[in-house]
Symmetry: C2
Subunit: 191 residues, 2 copies
């Protein structure tokens, strides 16, 4: 999606250790009118799939999940990253290793919020090594819900997480596919 | 707001220790078309205030902040609850004690995302003892931005956090004011 690639090329900050920071418009600060256009694009891609639930993981996925869910007129659910005293009843859980923060978490979701009647679209801001998305796919599979597909705003294709998931026959759509952070003329994209 | 009160009375779960769980429609599972109506109401309340930034704190505030920001055609920013390796540059910080989770955090926001040109509306899902909102107000004041006011979906008025903030001349709007969780006929509201 050219709109997003242009913005990443202009405002994305490439840090050491393969880090791409888009916190000024996609993460801690969210350019909501812009992100809403990305949500519209994701809705268009999955419009025929009768999505009735959007699933993400806290915290940075919540914004895009909310805006995508609004297009589908559907609820959004986010998996929490650790157990808290504020969750009642039984939960589905899945293991998650965070590459960004170099730590391990369990992602959990109450069983009431995901089930056999749900047609789930998984949405997240970033897709790199794919651990977060794999953890969410695990929750969907365990719950008996139908996984319609996965959508990410930004995929680092060279980290292979997206293609690993695609190789299992799961539809994965990314609005911008970064192929090289350190290109001769800056960030490079795959089309 | 009757729409919200009716939903809380119907689906809110009152737990031990003064806990009101609304996770099935306002928190971990978000009834997005419903929450969007709440966002529209908050927009109406502050429509004349030229809001150009919506501020919240991760994670449960992000959904309502995103939907409110969409109405104002403005960016949303969320404060993070602890330092991470993924934040560049200098940050504003403020202390936060979480009543729900009984722990202390620092909330931080990069200085680039809040400044003297911002007219800020603080938005959160819950307002009880007010610690989260006070921490966000602290960030706004330190940054030199103008605080337009605060909006919460649900206020527990008897925990006094909202009135403490109002007593300092800050406008605080809550869409549902819970006055008693253990009323004779269920949850009671103040009007």
């Amino acid at each position: 999606m050219e709109l997003l690639e242009t913005r990443i090329a202009k405002e994305g900050i490439v840090g050491q250790g393969d880090v791409l920071k888009v916190g000024s418009f996609l993460n801690q600060q969210m350019d909501i009118p812009f992100v809403d256009k990305l949500a519209e694009e994701i809705h268009t891609l999955f419009a025929s799939e009768n999505v009735n639930k959007v699933l993400t993981v806290e915290a940075s996925g919540i914004c895009i999940a909310a805006l995508v869910a609004l297009k589908f007129n559907a609820p959004a659910v986010y998996a929490k990253k650790h157990n808290t005293s504020n969750i009642a009843g039984e939960c589905y859980s899945s293991h998650l290793h965070s590459y960004t923060h170099n730590c391990d978490n369990t992602v959990i979701i109450p069983k009431d919020y995901l089930g056999v009647n749900d047609r789930v679209l998984i949405v997240d801001d970033f897709l790199a090594t794919g651990e977060a998305m794999e953890a969410l796919i695990g929750l969907v599979n365990t719950s008996g819900a139908t996984l319609v597909g996965c959508a990410a705003l930004v995929e680092k294709v060279y980290q292979e997480g997206g293609n690993k998931i695609r190789s299992r026959g799961i539809r994965v759509e990314s609005l911008a596919k970064v192929s090289n952070l350190y290109g001769k003329n800056g960030i490079e994209f795959e089309h």
